[in-house]
Symmetry: C2
Subunit: 245 residues, 2 copies
């Protein structure tokens, strides 16, 4: 048809956009039409990201290097240090299929849209059968080129959790061992990963001298643009500072 | 040629892999061969991720829902609260092109592979011309379905920085205003975003009563599998606990 005959080629369209001073082109391609991604690539487009049934490509037309925002750069792992304050014991696991059998806190990758504390509570329950409640964030680790993160970075957060059940029924697929271990023993043993050993010492310090010494607690705030709420974690702020105006 | 004639179709190969008990197939497709992504999609493959010049597709063949690991879920933004301890003033900016002119700490998205503190120092310099040094992490915010994160989540960290230069030369493209503001005034003003106001109060508490009250400090540890080092942030741990064996 006439429409098809006069439909300009992608090269022509890009040339016109460049003349008109546009700085960037975004192109969304449904997966079943992916041959268009190859056509666009021949014009200089590259993948920005892809998820499920579509890919998004970009072409930078502005001066200098691209100033387009990148895509998500981090996966988030969350572990739970579940401390039974009445006995001074903490919940630890050993992963299956590792070359080194080291004790660590149960945890795993957060699901899309899942809050930090919810990931910790869910992963602890899935791995150990223990129910618990989020109390605070204890530590944050950032690691780049993380194995298994597809070239991306890893953020790993350890939370302090309070148990509400105590009978272990651990996941045999994921864990080799799971037990309630004396916190002081965990802080001292050589059979723990360096980060576990370090956070065990931190937790012991808090257990003995007050959790306010080690906790990042959570407060909720309204987000100004979206109308949603967000969670902010930081050291406890005294009342007198919180209410100052 | 004979090779091409006897080359099995993707459907046949997938059927055989399923029979042989494989639980998943990963497929990497160069962008210029993207028509194969459409062919694979017709067999049930979906995008796992794509970056620059290739896409990666997956097909789950195991029982139940896919247990394949997802791709990066978070972008990371980092801001710097640069406090001049000799004057009690802190560096603040107002963004250009916002509906509300609120004071905030300079900051921006981390580059791939960039450490938290390095992002804060770089962004502060790019936006304000001020040179500074990383001291600690003050707060962490997690926000889902963040505007501008392509449906992904946002992690936003505010760091405490110490200035080593003091003459502002701010980026006119990004900032409307930039100034050294009295920290107490920032903690009290209504013209600041809620998170800025809250972290200003926290910083004022630390400035008056000791930064050890508010800081998450950094320690470096060896990563057991990669041989690289990673940075761990948590509350300062007394020497007696750090060295316990």
């Amino acid at each position: 048809s006439l429409t098809l005959l006069t439909w300009p080629s992608l090269a022509d369209v890009v040339a016109r956009w460049r003349e008109e001073g546009h700085v960037a082109v975004w192109l969304r391609v449904p997966i079943l039409q992916s041959r268009f991604a190859a056509v666009a690539a021949a014009q200089g487009f590259a993948f920005h990201h892809a998820e499920r049934d579509s890919s998004t490509l970009t072409l930078w037309l502005g001066e200098g290097p691209s100033r387009l925002p990148g895509y998500a750069t981090h996966q988030l792992g969350v572990a739970g240090a579940v401390l039974d304050e009445s006995t001074g014991k903490v919940l630890v696991v050993q992963d299956r299929n590792k070359t080194i059998n080291a004790w660590k806190f149960p945890g795993g990758l957060s699901n899309p849209g899942e809050d930090i504390g919810d990931t910790a509570v869910r992963e602890v329950f899935e791995e150990t059968g223990i129910k618990s409640e989020f109390k605070s964030i204890l530590s944050i680790r950032q690691q780049h080129r993380h194995p298994g993160a597809f070239g991306k970075s890893d953020m790993y957060i350890i939370c302090r959790l309070e148990p509400s059940s105590f009978s272990i029924r651990f996941c045999q697929q994921e864990c080799l061992r799971c037990e309630w271990m004396d916190l002081q023993e965990l802080a001292r043993t050589k059979d723990a990963t360096p980060i576990t050993s370090n956070v065990a010492k931190l937790l012991l310090y808090g257990y003995r001298e007050g959790f306010d010494k080690i906790d990042l607690t959570m407060r909720e705030f309204p987000a100004i643009y979206t109308g949603l709420f967000y969670k902010l974690y930081h050291r406890e702020l005294p009342e007198s500072y919180r209410n100052m105006t």
